[in-house]
């Protein structure tokens, strides 16, 4: 099984490599960059030329601030039912405390949109999938609510909907009996708009979150990743996460 998926990955890398080479032949190197990075027309499918990623600077993330969480809940209408253990949670604040020094850090934890997502590996129906541009989603039409993906996710990023829901947002359909998680605000990203949490963080001048295309060397996120040291949570699992952290 793992051998097969490895072969798939190699094949994909080879194919994408040849595709890029072909594109490079067709246009000048500088122009090719813009071709990759420009917002896509609505009727065009996403491609693997883009890989969406997020960089979170924990030094800028204030303890007690949950603007990103509130923004997410509002954007997707994630209402609570007074049951913290099972209520839907796409992004949450995590507090880290160094017991020796007493130093406290907080950071938002969300779906890390792995390149090799374990949730996709275990899904028996194919509902859990990774889009070409690296965003990991659940197709609720196919999800049977078995929750294997919730078990497989090392980051506890997924929620199961236990209750009948009403008044969902048109761009964020959600329903009882399916698993869901952060979508990187895919409805916004497809229209070239930043995710709600990033907007909220920037609006409040915390500037702890940077979102962009990690395949584009000129993007803000790529430049920051190049300039500063950053970490993947549980890098030992070699999932190549799309969300990375500075300062932890």
């Amino acid at each position: 099984m793992s051998e097969e998926s490895n072969i798939d990955i190699y094949r994909r890398r080879f194919m994408s490599g040849t595709a890029t080479a072909a594109a490079g032949l067709a246009v000048a190197p500088g122009v090719m960059l813009t071709e990759v990075a420009r917002a896509k027309p609505a009727e065009q499918a996403v491609t693997s030329d883009v890989r969406w990623g997020m960089l979170i600077d924990t030094n800028m993330c204030n303890e007690g601030c949950d603007d990103c969480v509130t923004a997410c809940n509002e954007e997707h209408n994630l209402e609570g039912f007074g049951r913290p253990t099972t209520d839907a949670q796409w992004i949450r604040k995590v507090t880290l405390k160094d017991k020796q020094t007493g130093n406290v850090q907080t950071l938002p934890m969300l779906c890390l949109h792995c390149e090799h997502p374990p949730c996709v590996d275990v899904c028996p129906t194919g509902a859990s999938f990774k889009r070409e541009d690296g965003i990991v989603l659940v197709d609720s039409h196919i999800c049977i609510g078995c929750r294997y993906c919730m078990m497989a996710c090392p980051y506890k990023a997924r929620s199961f909907i236990h209750e009948q829901l009403q008044d969902q947002m048109p761009y964020s359909p959600r329903g009882k009996g399916t698993v869901e998680s952060c979508t990187f605000c895919v409805h916004r990203v497809d229209r070239d708009i930043l995710p709600a949490c990033v907007v909220a963080c920037t609006e409040e001048n915390h500037n702890a979150m940077t979102f962009g295309d990690m395949n584009d060397p000129g993007s803000e996120i790529s430049q920051q990743l190049k300039q500063y040291s950053s970490r993947q949570v549980r890098a030992d699992l070699e999932l190549n996460t799309g969300v990375r952290y500075r300062g932890i």
């Binding site: 499918a45 708009i193 962009g212």
Partner: protein, 173 residues
């Protein structure tokens, strides 16, 4: 003998008069009853066309269009609006506070689906009416656009952008 024939004539007259009368009364009544009431769309798709496809075609095959669009949107990120469920709702359902919801037989989708006894589960997850959301107000603001290298080459970008139909333009006229 005369008595019996008279009774038969009276009965047949009564029946003969009454039966067509009843039929004539009940037929329009069932058509105008609430189960067969289909709400009018909020607007036309274009000057030439009432809906996104010819109306006969939509009545027969609307589910196929929605299904195709569903897979394209969820898996490939295609955001064209012509055949999206969201645009069906935006056009066919009123955004008024007291507008009928999907559990009512006056809701556009449910009016017909009740009549044909087809139960759908679209609206267990999807919005059954147009919702003006935070998302739309944010989308107007250019400062929340994703920055990319394309901005470095403004000439290429602006010329390319003219060909890109804005997602807000379709269906909001």
């Amino acid at each position: 003998m005369l008595k019996y024939s008279l009774i038969t004539v009276i009965f047949s007259l009564l029946l003969g008069v009454q039966t067509p009368g009843m039929a004539a009364d009940s037929a329009p009544a069932s058509e105008s009853s609430e189960t067969f009431f289909i709400p009018k769309a909020q607007r036309r798709y274009s000057k030439e066309q009432a809906c996104v496809e010819p109306i006969e075609e939509m009545r027969a095959n609307h589910m196929e269009y929605i299904l195709d669009q569903r897979d394209a949107t969820v898996h490939e990120g295609v955001r064209s609006r012509q055949h999206s469920l969201e645009e069906c709702i935006n056009c066919h359902v009123s955004d008024a506070e007291d507008a009928p919801r999907v559990d009512s037989e006056k809701h556009f989708c449910n009016s017909c689906h009740t009549y044909t006894a087809v139960s759908i589960d679209c609206f267990q997850c999807h919005a059954d009416r147009p919702v003006k959301s935070q998302f739309h107000s944010l989308s107007d603001s250019s400062k929340h656009r994703i920055k990319n290298t394309a901005a470095v080459l403004p000439a290429t970008r602006s010329s390319e952008q003219l060909n890109v139909p804005s997602s807000e333009d379709v269906g909001n006229e």
